[in-house]
Symmetry: C2
């Protein structure tokens, strides 16, 4: 049988996350080095891996926390009343993910995780996000702002697909001409969510 973790372990874990978070603020997610984290935290390399499995595991915790925070602010206030407002509510997430390729890659790797990693923050944040979108879409369907021939769940999933698509293209592009995510997303999501006119 497995016993609950001891106090010492929780402290170590907290310190690692704390140090890593601060270092990310300085060098970005892609600039994070495991050696730097452990040395500043005053632990051995192996300790970090025993806590998070691998570097991605640590990043998943950090990024999961950030997404949760973003959702916290996105969730407050009234639900979007139009398609345009809905898209506005997506922008904070988009902006965050667009910040660094590493975020995008990691989200793509974890988003959709079912099974033993369900307890990971990042996985929970993923479900929370989809649930929120589903709710928004359902409400907009009820007021005839969106197509109603598809379930809110499916439409929300599709939103995810297009969001990822726009982000992926932005990372490939020549990095000049900074993508106008709002406009890009809008045109895809309108085609996907709005009732067909013609």
């Amino acid at each position: 049988m497995s016993r609950p973790p001891q106090k010492r372990r929780l402290e170590t874990r907290a310190r690692l996350i704390d140090v890593a978070t601060r270092q990310v603020d300085q060098v970005g997610y892609s600039g994070l080095r495991v050696e730097d984290v452990v040395s500043e935290a005053g632990v051995a390399k192996g300790t970090l891996f025993s806590h998070f499995g691998d570097k991605d595991g640590l990043l998943a915790v950090l990024i999961g926390a950030r997404i949760m925070a973003t959702l916290d602010s996105t969730e407050t206030g009234a639900a979007p009343a139009t398609l345009d407002e809905l898209i506005d509510r997506l922008m904070p997430i988009v902006t965050f993910v667009a910040e660094d390729r590493v975020i995008f890659d990691l989200l793509l790797r974890y988003s959709g995780t079912t099974g033993p990693e369900m307890d990971e923050v990042i996985t929970q944040s993923f479900f929370r996000q989809i649930a929120l979108w589903t709710q928004w879409v359902g409400a907009l369907q009820a007021t005839n702002h969106l197509r109603s021939d598809q379930s809110p769940d499916r439409l929300a999933e599709g939103m995810q697909a297009f969001l990822n698509h726009v982000l992926a293209l932005s990372f490939c592009a020549g990095h000049e001409a900074p993508t106008d995510f709002r406009a890009e997303l809008s045109s895809y999501l309108t085609a996907w969510l709005a009732p067909q006119t013609a």
Copy 2:
């Protein structure tokens, strides 16, 4: 001024690609090791990097070639006459990409590349694929099998988005219960491409 590459260089490049291709057949894309390739090819490590930039560069060549071959067979024969037939035509690509995460990641990284890497095989294969899909979609629009309120180009781009979505989920999933790509794709693409009924 830069002179054309010498014969020796072309031979070395060909040998590297040849060896790498054979090794991939044995150990898969994710199992490929640079050291193994160069040792079997009888060249030094640096040579490989001078040819392909990095490991991904080599993989891009190998994968690009495979996609081109797939497109060759996909392109022959009559264009799909229904949405179902269109989806059938996508399956070879899906199956190939689903084979290994590395393929998916690399495609996502290169697909959408514009600029100096335009001459890469993989980039060309990407454009060729989108062009083909656009053509198919246009034809199906003309026969009233698909929605006509969006340009063929946009619909084709959306197909890419959903295809990636389905693949991404399949890689995340618990790896048991092998995804039925055909069914998954079909439900998304029907919602995206078909005229709305309700």
